[in-house]
Amino acid sequence: DAGVTQSPTHLIKTRGQHVTLRCSPISGHKSVSWYQQVLGQGPQFIFQYYEKEERGRGNFPDRFSARQFPNYSSELNVNALLLGDSALYLCASSFSMDAYNQPQHFGDGTRLSIL
């Protein structure tokens, strides 16, 4: 089975632009979470979606938004890009929201660079 897939792999944008990142979870997984990983730091939680509803939100500005589609894939949108948004954006999926025996599986991430 395919793992979590994210696209694009790399992306270069300029300040003020908008970006959309995409994530396809593992088949059968209904929960998708997004994390931002700044260089040299651990990932920071941005959003969690389950059954197409937002179930958790981290401490990020309203410029960040996301949604989940009926096929459980997800998009992360960032408006008015700032230099500080440069980071690796990770998507993680799991079968349900709270399942110790079904931990989150991560994709390879999208490297976003802001010029």
Binding site: S31, G42, R55, A92, D98, P103, Q104, H105, D108, R111
Partner: protein, 115 residues
């Protein structure tokens, strides 16, 4: 708020030797999960081992084991018979037991393995 602290930014180990990576956390919850994730240069976060707070027995996965000290809020990872492929960033992560599967990560530690 929960926090995860990894105070050692870098460690090095000789191939075939044993190394221990430290992690402490802070929480007011009584039931939660703890994880160690590995992130090689390929960027994908890979689950190494997990521990449920209510289980007294320390988790073991082949060459990887943990020393979980709940009272001290300590969760260290021991890697035995280190291999060159173990070289990576290692992140300690915490997740409360509940509806939200948000992971809180530490800053990570870079492990190098000397041949």
């Amino acid at each position: 708020a929960q926090t995860v602290t990894q105070s050692q930014p870098e460690m090095s180990v000789q191939e075939a030797e044993t190394v221990t990576l430290s992690c402490t956390y802070d929480t007011s919850e009584s039931d939660y999960y703890l994880f160690w994730y590995k992130q090689p240069p390929s960027r994908q976060m890979i689950l190494v081992i997990r521990q449920e707070a209510y289980k007294q027995q320390n988790a073991t996965e082949n060459r990887f084991s943990v020393n979980f000290q709940k009272a001290a809020k300590s969760f260290s990872l021991k890697i035995s018979d280190s291999q060159l492929g173990d070289a990576a960033m290692y992140f300690c992560a915490y997740r409360p037991k509940g509806a939200n599967s948000k992971l809180t990560f530490g800053k990570g530690i870079t492990l190098s393995v000397r041949p």
